[in-house]
């Protein structure tokens, strides 16, 4: 591991939105800037750069993290997904449709972070998806435009639709077994 020795810049290799990538990154550069500047992933929005606004939230090894509070060099060996990757894979298409249908985005600045935060919540089978739980989960994401009501609506309706899907699948399987 090259980064075992102190240096002001390091070579990194990681998986970005499903592709193996490499970069040479100054130690002081945070991951959000690396993704925007070296990889053109401008869906990673930077607001506060101190962890408060949530606009820069991405997935690292499947978990939501603030890309402004992780150094680019720390991505070495990790699996990184941004809103672009989640969009291309279709993994959050229902959530994105719900945001659109419920008017949960206006300027869209907070939206990538909101989507990533919600994606993690919706993927966690053990997580509660009551409106209260959704509000707690997105409490770390600021939105200046829409107010949170429409955003909570969009996440709640996606949770319900996914839960409904699972229940229907279960019922069908049950019926088949009974027949």
């Amino acid at each position: 591991m090259a980064s075992e020795n102190p240096d002001r810049a390091h070579a990194v290799a990681f998986t970005l939105n499903g592709e193996a990538v490499r970069a040479h990154v100054p130690a002081r550069m945070h991951l959000g800037d690396l993704l925007r500047q070296s990889f053109g992933l401008t869906g990673v929005h930077l607001g506060c750069e101190h962890g408060v606004c949530g606009a820069c939230t991405i997935l690292v090894d499947g978990r939501a993290v603030r890309s402004c509070l992780m150094l680019g060099v720390q991505a070495d060996g990790a699996t990184v997904e941004t809103v672009e990757g989640l969009t291309e894979s279709g993994r959050i298409r229902d959530l994105q449709d719900a945001f659109h249908a419920r008017n949960a985005l206006q300027c869209g600045y907070c939206t990538p972070g909101m989507l990533v935060t919600a994606a993690e919540l919706l993927d966690d089978a053990d997580a509660a998806t009551s409106r209260e739980a959704i509000r707690a989960a997105i409490a770390g994401n600021y939105c200046r435009c829409t107010g949170y009501h429409a955003i909570v609506d969009a996440i709640a309706s996606t949770a319900e639709a996914r839960g409904q899907g699972r229940r229907d699948a279960g019922r069908d399987a049950g019926l088949e077994a009974a027949e």
Binding site: S3, E4, V65, L69
Partner: protein, 294 residues
């Protein structure tokens, strides 16, 4: 703002990390979850020459049991993320106080990355893990150039962002004694918005005996320059005198007076949450926290 220039190293063992800290002296700082340190760098409140990243040291992570039947201990590696601390099966079973505290620590993305060791080493007086360590009578395990040492939480937190850590030392783990079958606990926190730093919070442990409470440890946070054990309040509560316990807080807590929340307000809120926690600890063991505890 952007971070100043610094060098970075990610050693693969604790010994290598300690060697780097020893070699570079005060110029070097450990990097754990970065959820406070990278913030400070981005805001240029801190300008170290070298960050020693602890994230590639496997021996610093994980939750395990030690100590056998009697005097059992749950050992939590310093680099265990907030979320993994609070959701570990061993913690949920043996240390429900910590599981109840978890949802109050920041927001999901920060809980995914921040570590218990980083929180304890930073010693922000408004935070949950240091108060839980104090309430639960935990020991902080520390390694430096010399031998490993264990510092009781009572002695570890010494003031605003000040601990018993010496330069060049690393927190390697926190050891929690496993409470007995008659143990009770309580956790309550008030903040402006879910996940914000506490205006006032209380982590409490004790035992229930013949209708009363004993061996109470009431660790308040957000109300002084460090987490504080309210001993007089605990004594009054053990004697069954809740009003006396609430009154005693005025002499034991020293809340900050800031533009948004007056000291008197924080003290009042401390009395309110003491009432809630006392009622729950009397009423039953391992009770879930209020509607906040999502």
């Amino acid at each position: 703002m952007k971070a100043p220039d610094f060098a970075y190293a990610r050693p693969a063992s604790l010994d290598a990390a300690l060697a780097l800290l020893a070699e570079h002296g005060e110029d070097a700082v450990p990097l754990a979850g970065g959820q406070s340190l990278v913030t400070a760098l981005n805001m240029r409140l801190s300008a170290p020459g070298l960050l020693v990243d602890l994230n590639a040291i496997p021996e610093l992570t994980g939750v395990s049991e030690a100590g056998g039947e009697a005097g059992g201990i749950v050992r939590i590696g310093a680099m265990t993320r907030h979320r993994d601390v609070g959701t570990a099966a061993l913690v949920r079973e043996r240390l429900p106080l910590l599981a109840a505290a978890l949802p109050h620590i920041a927001h999901p993305a920060i809980r995914n990355r921040g570590t218990i060791g980083g929180s304890v080493a930073l010693a922000d007086p408004a935070t949950e893990w240091p108060a839980c360590c104090l309430a639960a009578g935990a020991s902080i395990v520390v390694r430096g150039p010399g031998a490993e040492r264990r510092v009781p939480a009572d002695d570890f937190f010494q003031g605003l962002y000040t601990t018993a850590l010496e330069p060049g030392e690393i927190v390697t783990a926190i050891e929690f004694p496993v409470p007995g079958a008659d143990a009770v606990w309580g956790f309550e926190e008030l903040s402006r918005r879910h996940g914000d730093y506490a205006l006032v919070g209380l982590a409490a442990t004790g035992r229930r005996s013949a209708g009363g409470l004993s061996d109470l440890r009431l660790a308040f946070f957000g109300v002084a320059d460090r987490p504080v054990l309210a001993r007089d309040a605990a004594a009054a509560l053990e004697a069954g005198d809740l009003a006396g316990a609430q009154a005693a807080l005025a002499g034991e807590l020293d809340p900050p007076d800031d533009p948004t929340t007056k000291a008197a307000t924080r003290l009042h809120l401390a009395r309110v949450i003491l009432g809630r926690v006392a009622a729950r600890m009397r009423g039953g063991s391992a009770q879930e926290d209020g509607p906040d505890g999502v």
